[in-house]
Assembly symmetry: C2
Homo-oligomer: 132 residues x 2
């Protein structure tokens, strides 16, 4: 049976995701992890992300119209914010509460996703300066 090995690239990828306070796309992971492992390939990023998700260490975050992003599995229920300017995605700690009541009669709600859109702190600041 296949035994799993520890490699520089896996360590780099794992630590990049752990260090990030926001979900990262495979491309973002690649970019960030290359400061650790220079010749890192995209295929390895995909392979490792799949591993991390399979072992429950990471989870997939899918927002409308976006390809998947990855973040370390968090126990706390939370949602996400996407910046309309830089397109980056951030965690949002809260939750609007019980949404079961919104569903039409006869529908059973099992879970929900909430996505906020707007301008992130960085882009808000940038905008402010630009329009000075």
């Amino acid at each position: 049976m296949a035994v799993e090995r520890a490699t520089r690239q896996r360590d780099a990828i794992r630590s990049v995701i752990q260090a990030s306070k926001r979900p990262l796309s495979p491309g973002e992971v690649l970019h960030a992890a290359r400061s650790e492992v220079n010749a890192l390939g995209l295929a390895t990023v995909y392979r490792t992300l799949k591993l991390l998700v399979a072992e429950g260490a990471a989870q997939v975050i899918t927002l409308p119209g976006e390809s998947p992003r990855y973040e370390m599995a968090e126990s706390a229920h939370h949602h996400h914010f996407q910046c309309n300017t830089c397109r980056r995605v951030y965690d949002v700690p809260g939750c609007p509460g019980d949404l079961r009541r919104l569903a039409p009669r006869g529908f059973t709600v099992e879970h929900h996703d909430v996505t906020l859109y707007g301008r992130c702190r960085d882009c808000a600041r940038r905008k402010m300066h630009a329009s000075r």
Copy 2:
């Protein structure tokens, strides 16, 4: 300048979307409109959907991990429900309310999306019978 013409296929596509109480994928539109125009092509569906959106008659609904669906433009703010069984998407009239407070400090919220997941009425009923 290009003058826009009324055709059987456009009428069929428009009426299919208007008649539907839920957002439809291009494939669903094609299928439904073929009962009206037999030889309808997928390209025409895409072209017409784009037209309808451009003129503001229809709007694009994008849910996480899903390709776009289309529904007639509605004035009322609302959200969507996706059935975990049949994958169909339904309108949900309500809204959890003001979500601005959830965003971290420095973030500006401009709009939001809420998606509920669970079992739709049809699938709940079907499940009930199956497990009799």
